[in-house]
Symmetry: C2
Subunit: 227 residues, 2 copies
DNA sequence: GTTGAAAATTTGGTATACCGAATCTTGTTG
DNA sequence: CAACAAGATTCGGTATACCAAATTTTCAAC
């Protein structure tokens, strides 16, 4: 058995179900039912729900079932605002403190993405994209910073994913990543700040777009709610 | 009874005990004993421990008792690094989005601190200081940002407190706060960035100092560990 | 037919009991 | 006397049972 604790495994499962869309925003998560589904008891399920809730993917309501979070445009914009700041700080610190091995690892990821972007499955592509950003956060050698970064990345995962599969902007993403990598190689803090700014500006636009559209859909659905 | 949930109340209690020093770094928190102490069962105590652990005040160890966190100098420095960035972003956003009421509230806090700093109890003084910083984070009108801010503030609470009571730098703190308030009033993002930078630079030095000293003590104590 | 109140059901909150792993004790052996 | 092994104990992990609040449903009265 893995060294991962049971609640964490359940949390991963929940996260994946939410991010992949098996659990839609607004769905309720009754701890009894969910626990029965996975064949575990309520205690670890409860803890798992708290874990994911703290990440922002689940909303806890007093005396009600937790539900899958339904971020509105403002919430997502706020998250991007923080993510931008966190990534810029990561980039700056990485320029100072990244080891050569760190940079090499990031280069490999970038290369891999560049080589396969025409053929790759959107989901795989996307996970590589995520790992690129995480690698930079790790290269800051500031653990709490990396932790916050991964938390906000997770919050935006779903929106980013929806944005990524719709748009045909893969080449743009790769260009941005290449620019970030170049700045890191040169250990040029100013350049990496600008490159990250450009990249996340684009992201911000794409995401706001997707969320706006989705909220429209949800609104429509709510208007005819019968079930 | 308050609308605060039981685990949260327990978490507050734990936090206060840790921050006030009733629970020293390294002390173990056996959930059975702790639960019995407060006359509650293990379930809410367990959840409370997780809450505080996630804030960074408690360290969870696999298959062992959780212990009160013992941050080293690097950990604290990392935290300050993040806090600085978060506060700067808060300040910038507050310059754009704070309402007049927000600013007035911050002014009142500053004023209060200025009026009473010669007579006030260190702990009260300190809580006012905290509320000043929290008020600025809130004035950013970015909720996830404010949440992160409060988390890092909590992590550093103890170190800041130890630093604050030792030093006779209250006048300096007030000068800094006044400068931050002035920049906010002028909605001058550049000025507030600088003012916050100055303030937290000072903090960083003070905190590193205290932690270094404390680690020395703990080291000494560990060398003769008998109990 | 609609409205309101009461009862039943659903659901999260809390307590407790059980289990297995890790640790500490103790006794035996070299 | 030291070292190691086996048993006892401690403690976190998990399951389950009970409780109270909130919602929903149903039945009665207007």
């Amino acid at each position: 058995m893995s060294d991962q604790t049971l609640p964490e495994k359940i949390a991963n499962q929940l996260r994946r179900d939410i991010l992949r869309g098996r659990l839609a925003p607004g769905d309720s998560l009754k701890e009894r039912d969910k626990a029965a589904d996975l064949g575990v008891s309520r205690t670890p399920m409860r803890e798992a729900i708290r874990i994911v809730a703290r990440e922002g993917l689940i909303t806890l309501r007093p005396a009600r079932s937790p539900i899958v979070a339904m971020p509105d445009v403002k919430a997502v914009t706020d998250d991007v605002e923080v993510l931008l700041s966190v990534e810029k700080l990561s980039g700056k610190l990485a320029c100072e403190r990244a080891t050569d091995a760190d940079i090499e690892g990031i280069a490999v990821i970038t290369q891999h993405m560049d080589n396969n972007f025409t053929t790759m499955d959107p989901l795989d592509m996307f996970e590589i994209d995520m790992s690129f950003h995480s690698a930079i956060a790790k290269a800051s050698h500031n653990e709490p910073l990396a932790e916050i970064h991964s938390r906000f990345l997770a919050r935006l995962w779903r929106a980013r994913f929806l944005a990524a599969i719709k748009r045909r902007n893969r080449t743009k993403v790769i260009a941005h990543h290449t620019a970030i990598l170049a700045a890191l190689r040169a250990r040029d803090a100013v350049a990496i700040d600008a490159a990250i700014g450009t990249h996340l500006d684009q992201l911000s636009k794409d995401i706001a777009d997707v969320i706006r559209r989705e909220h429209q859909d949800l609104q429509d659905k709510a208007d005819q709610q019968a079930d």
